[in-house]
Symmetry: C2
Subunit: 115 residues, 2 copies
Amino acid sequence: MLKEKTKIFKALSDPNRLRIIKMLQTKKLCVCEITEVLQLATSTVSKHLSILRDNGFIVEEKDGKWINYYINPTPFDERVSSILGSLDFWISDDSVTNKDKTSLINIDRKIICCK
Amino acid sequence: MLKEKTKIFKALSDPNRLRIIKMLQTKKLCVCEITEVLQLATSTVSKHLSILRDNGFIVEEKDGKWINYYINPTPFDERVSSILGSLDFWISDDSVTNKDKTSLINIDRKIICCK
DNA sequence: TTATCATTTCGTTATATGGCGAAACATAAT
DNA sequence: ATTATGTTTCGCCATATAACGAAATGATAA
């Protein structure tokens, strides 16, 4: 159906989801680390991640008590592959995404997440 | 701003706008011809066209008492160029878009638009 | 100039989306 | 087993979006 084809564009239609994808370009991240950078509620971030996952942009794996999210290395949808393969073309770096990436350097999962 | 980068994805997030783009792949069309195929209100189609135009996907030119819309041959945003240059990759043909295109063959602007 | 007609804009309505906190889940640590 | 903790789900609210018809606009035809 045609509505199905709009889904990957919808997934890319939210600034916070673009920030998440760009962050995951750097390294694998758990929900609470992303929450810390975006300054959103955990439930909101979780929802964003599920949308990105459902559209094949990211995948998850367990890591102790955390769940690591990372860029899908083998997307089913070739349009997703194409975007992820040239991510800086589709979502160019800017002050926000750059700041996000530097924020990540100073974040220690073990300190941040235990609140 | 990052929100700006989401705009072209938002523009592609509506099934009717995808149908319009695919129709314009065939030939230049006026508002009422598109209205006839999509079976939507004229005002609705006009709004969709303005969104596609504002994001550089299509351009317009006068043709008598009509306004012809067509695929932008020289988009400013290189992401738009990339999508329009491989349109069948990003929006593959299906039963709906194929039917739309055949519908267009039998539509005579001079008959349809004068109601 | 006046009438006609394609198109756009405006106001309204229904649905979709993104945000939150609380509660439910799932699993690791004690 | 029980507690603690990371994550998800649920219910709610505010805003965004897409739809319509009516009115406004603008340009062509009479």
